[in-house]
């Protein structure tokens, strides 16, 4: 799904989710993937098939949900770890 379809014309999809998790500072970091290097904000182009539904589900969570913070923390840690664990260009 494109940014336009998601109604986020003003913001990059990857950046949007990174910001949602407090990882926007990693957006322009270059990450080494299996098929070459890519920017962190473009991670959905690499693993979007699996990560997008998870992030969309998290976005759909209400901040009042008792599990919201724990889920956010886990996702932030998990995705941040993946992006930061790869060697930086």
């Amino acid at each position: 799904m494109s940014n336009e379809q998601l109604g986020r014309n003003e913001e990059h999809e990857g950046v949007h989710y990174l910001r949602l998790l407090g990882l926007e500072h990693l957006a322009d970091r270059e990450v080494a993937g299996k098929n070459g290097r890519f920017l962190a904000k473009d991670f959905l182009d690499v693993c979007g098939q699996h990560a997008r539904p998870v992030l969309v589900g998290f976005e759909d969570m209400s901040s009042d949900d008792p599990e919201y913070e724990s889920t956010k923390d886990f996702l932030t840690h998990y995705i941040g770890q993946i992006l930061e664990s790869h060697p930086q260009a």
Binding site: M1, Q5, L6, C47, Q49, H50, R52, P53, V54, L55, V56, G57, F58, E59, D60, M61, E67, T71, F74, L75, Y78
Partner: protein, 455 residues
């Protein structure tokens, strides 16, 4: 951490049961409803169970959200398209008018012309009336007292011009219509000519030449009946050609001159010949026998001589009949071949006809005589009569002589040697006809005493 390793605990709560369709990088598709169904290749498989549970819930929720958004976007897109089309200015909807125009244009031209003519006819009919009214109006204006003379002068009657214009217009309309009719007629004529010429186009089928006869040519566009007739003609031509070819092969042989044969057979119904002596004799008839009747092989002749000697040794008589032939009185065949043997047969027939009247009455009785029937019913006769080789001497048992060989007839006492006919079947004789021929031939050459003896 909550122990979710147990199967019952791995499932989400009933109200949170989700179904997550997971497509692995390998392309394999999974429907994951519980943690234990998460495939090993899924990246979250190695995470703690709590984390897997969280991922599953988020993913299922996200999928539903995405699907809902997709449907919403699709609806919005459809509505936007419809709205855009509806708000499109009329100038941009020219295609609709074009379509409508094309519908009208698509009507048959004849209908349009007919309709236009129908609409214009009333107008044309009113033309004289309009002209009269115009003339009256001009005249009234010109005759008005307040009209200056110059004005009246300037006002042209217009009658002539109007009439002329109208006449010209009518002429043009008529000319145009006539031209249109002529054009249409020309087009129809050309189309008809094309159809006719195509139908009559001589798409010839190559037919091989037939000697001495022209074959009919088959045309591709012929009617079935015509083709059938042509086929019959072809078949007839083939038959004619084949007949010509066959006849060309059946060139009549020149008959050797046998000056004394006919007379001899006529004078001597029964010819008792010493074959060995005939084979060595210089007598013209013996020479003719050797050259035409007797087998060329001396071995065969000697065999015949031995046979005859054997016959004579048991008290019988060896009769030699130089030729046997079909008799018209017996056969109804018309396929008489003009072969040498046939010519000889004709000689024999004439001989029989000369002699036969004396024995025909007895022949009728003999034909049904038990002894004769017994002779004819034997296989020996059939074997003799059906023997295909030409010029192979056959022997005919006559009388009550003891058989010289085991396969001879028990009633045979005398033998008549005679060459076989060329081919009985070729001239249409069946077995009974051949028997009749032989019987008549034999009887014609046997003296009455022999006939009575046989009987």
């Amino acid at each position: 951490m909550e122990n979710v390793g147990q199967h019952s605990d791995d499932r989400f709560a009933a109200e949170e049961t989700v179904e997550y369709h997971y497509t692995a990088n390998s392309g394999a598709e999974y429907v994951v409803e519980s943690l234990d169904q998460i495939p090993a290749e899924c990246p979250i498989k190695g995470l703690p169970l709590e984390a897997q549970k969280m991922f599953m819930k988020l993913a299922a929720r996200g999928v539903q959200k995405l699907e809902a958004k997709n449907e919403e976007v699709a609806k919005e897109t459809t509505q936007e398209v419809l709205k855009t089309n509806a708000e499109r200015p009329e100038s941009d909807q020219g295609h609709k008018k074009i379509v409508e125009s094309q519908k009208v244009t698509a009507k048959a031209p004849y209908e349009q012309v007919s309709q236009q003519r129908t609409e214009s006819e009333p107008v044309l009919a009113r033309v004289p009336e309009i002209v009269v009214k115009q003339e009256d109006a001009v005249r009234q204006i010109a005759e008005r007292p307040d009209m200056p003379e110059t004005a009246a002068t300037n006002i042209e009657p217009a009658t002539d011009k109007t009439e002329k214009r109208l006449e010209t217009s009518d002429t043009q309309v008529i000319a145009q219509q006539a031209q249109a009719v002529a054009t249409a007629a020309e087009a129809s004529r050309q189309a008809l000519d094309e159809v006719v010429s195509e139908a009559l186009e001589p798409d010839l089928v190559p037919v091989p030449e037939v000697a001495a006869k022209e074959r009919p040519v088959v045309q591709a566009k012929q009617q079935p009946s015509e083709v059938f007739e042509t086929a019959q003609e072809l078949v007839a031509a083939e038959e004619i050609v084949s007949t010509v070819e066959v006849q060309s092969e059946l060139v009549p042989m020149e008959l050797p001159e046998v000056p004394e044969f006919a007379e001899a057979t006529a004078e001597v119904p029964v010819m008792e010949l010493d074959l060995a002596a005939s084979y060595e004799s210089d007598d013209p008839f013996d020479v003719w026998l050797r050259e035409n009747i007797m087998p060329p092989s001396s071995e065969v002749v000697l065999e015949i001589a031995d046979e005859m000697a054997a016959i004579e040794s048991i008290g019988g008589e060896a009769l030699f009949v130089p030729e046997i032939a079909p008799i018209d009185a017996v056969s109804d065949t018309e396929a008489v071949q003009t072969t040498f043997e046939q010519e000889m047969a004709m000689e024999a027939v004439s001989t029989v006809e000369e002699v036969a009247p004396e024995v025909l009455e007895e022949l009728e009785a003999l034909a049904t005589h038990p002894r004769i029937a017994e002779v004819f019913d034997t296989g020996y006769w059939r074997r003799v009569l059906l023997a295909p080789p030409k010029r192979t001497p056959i022997k005919l048992p006559i009388g009550n002589a003891e058989p010289s060989r085991p396969d001879d007839l028990s009633i045979a006492r005398e033998y008549i040697w005679m060459p076989s006919v060329p081919d009985w079947s070729a001239i249409g004789y069946n077995v009974s006809q051949r028997l009749g021929v032989l019987l008549m031939y034999l009887l014609a050459r046997l003296p009455e005493t022999r006939l009575q003896q046989i009987a």
